[in-house]
């Protein structure tokens, strides 16, 4: 983390930017097609959604969380991480509290399948926890639901 980036983040805060804090353990992005949103609803767990438009307040995590994000294929993997997600990850606090990534996508996109999750994993040194396609099947919902429960239980045991 170059210090210049740190300063830049602070500057943003001092600018009095509209910021929204969340202590949810699951933070996700979903475009207007709402696939990811629908998947998250089926998990029946607390969550926060990264804003779609730059005019909306910036989302800042206050507790450790897992990030769930889609990848839309194409452009040979370039720009796989959407600008809204990049904006979210530019916050150092958001990067520090990130514990893992779940990716959604489509195997039709070949090597770009769930690429955004893999890129974030590599960049932020957190594991890719799970990948699934489109809105996810009922098996995916179950796997992620149970997986997250176990994941957080283990984390809390480690901490104590």
């Amino acid at each position: 983390m170059p210090p210049s980036a740190l300063a830049e983040n602070r500057q943003l805060d001092e600018d009095g930017r509209d910021v929204q804090y969340t202590d949810q353990k699951l933070i996700y992005f979903s475009s207007a097609s709402e696939y990811t949103h629908r998947f998250v609803q089926k998990l029946n767990t607390g969550s926060a959604r990264i804003p779609l438009f730059a005019s909306e307040p910036e989302l800042i995590a206050t507790e450790p969380y897992v990030l769930l994000i889609p990848t839309y294929g194409g452009e040979n993997g370039r720009r796989a991480v959407l600008p809204q997600i990049l904006r979210f990850l530019r916050s150092e606090q958001n990067r520090q509290l990130l514990q893992g990534v779940i990716g959604s996508g489509n195997t039709n996109f070949g090597t770009a399948y769930c690429l955004a999750a893999k890129k974030i994993s590599a960049k932020c040194h957190v594991p890719v926890l799970y990948t699934f396609e489109l809105m996810g099947t009922s098996e995916d919902v179950l796997n992620v639901k149970e997986g997250l429960d176990t994941f957080w239980t283990l984390k809390s045991q480690k901490r104590t």
């Binding site: 452009e75 720009r79 040194h125 594991p127 099947t137 098996e139 796997n143 992620v144 176990t150």
Partner: protein, 324 residues
């Protein structure tokens, strides 16, 4: 029959600086950036590999590709064009013209494969087969009848099922060859088509759901029932078609799993729940890995299976935006 296809009535100059639906711009950009032509794929490198196939395998490959040519021709010439008059925004119309053109590129690319690998006589023979195979003709006819029908949302259902389901009995074969290190350049070309079809199915399915929002609960229920009925009708025909083609090489059972897997994805593109349970969608890992080289890693940190606790390695993090 043809008189039922209408042209858009009142055309206004398209203003790309006034966007009603951001999805139109996003998908337009994605399609433009994904643009490709068959001439860029070094198909001639497959000539030697083609020579290692048995006569049965060659015949199967030719037939599968003429079947795909028919579907791409239908989608390029009628399908995508038939969606234009029902578009909700002028930008949606423009996206359909892009889709229509790309389908024509796909249709032409099979001819590039043919002319590289086969003789004129074999090519003509395969095209003759495509006009005579009952199951192939039937699937084209079922879809075509909805394109000429007068229900815009049913047209989108038929179109999404074509893009996201009907191609896959054919796409299976080049993935199979690729997993055995055969016809690998042809497989590269098919992967480009597969990538395009995913964006097409996603977009048309999205527009279907947009249209659905304005409908009454009864009508929504009717369209949902209709989707599943049409899928079943097409599925039964696909099973027949699959046995027709793949029984001689013993691959039918795995192809059917691939059909189930993709039927689920087609339903999801239309906003419905997947229908086939995991027990019948377990496509052979070799095929999945030919489709998406990293999918077989099956990131499942939760269950502890697969290559799990692997932090993604340096995967193209060249994006300028990554400098935090």
């Amino acid at each position: 029959m043809t008189e039922k296809i209408k042209l858009t009535h009142k055309v206004e100059a398209i203003n790309w600086n006034r966007i009603q639906d951001e999805k139109d711009v996003e998908v337009w950009n994605r399609l433009v950036n994904n643009f490709w032509l068959p001439e860029k794929v070094p198909l001639s490198n497959d000539i030697q590999s083609w020579g290692t196939l048995t006569e049965d395998e060659k015949l199967l490959t030719m037939r599968v590709f003429t079947g795909l040519t028919l579907l791409d021709t239908l989608q390029g010439t009628v399908g995508a064009v038939s969606l234009i008059p029902d578009a909700l925004t002028p930008h949606e119309e423009a996206v359909y013209t892009n889709i229509a053109f790309m389908e024509s590129v796909h249709a032409k690319s099979y001819s590039s494969i043919f002319s590289t690998l086969a003789s004129t006589k074999d090519i003509d023979e395969a095209f003759r087969w495509s006009t005579e195979n009952r199951n192939l003709q039937k699937k084209a006819q079922i879809i075509e009848s909805y394109y000429y029908g007068d229900d815009p949302l049913k047209r989108k259902i038929a179109s999404t099922l074509l893009e996201s389901f009907l191609f896959y009995s054919g796409f299976y074969l080049p993935m199979h060859w690729s997993s055995r290190a055969k016809l690998t350049n042809t497989a590269d070309l098919i992967r480009l088509i597969i990538r395009d079809e995913a964006v097409h199915g996603y977009y048309i399915g999205y527009k279907y759901q947009k249209g659905l929002e304005t409908q009454s609960p009864e009508r929504r229920e009717e369209l949902k029932d209709y989707t599943f009925e049409l899928l079943f009708e097409l599925y039964e025909n696909e099973v027949q078609y699959t046995h027709d083609l793949y029984d001689p090489v013993g691959l039918s059972e795995d192809v059917k799993k691939f059909l189930h897997y993709n039927a689920n994805k087609a339903l999801m593109n239309l906003g419905y729940e997947a229908m086939f349970p995991a027990a019948v969608t377990d496509v052979s890992p070799a095929i999945l890995s030919a489709l998406s080289p990293n999918a077989d890693e099956n990131h499942d940190f939760f269950s502890g299976s697969g290559s799990s606790y692997v932090i993604g390695k340096a995967v193209n993090t060249e994006d300028e935006d990554w400098e935090f």
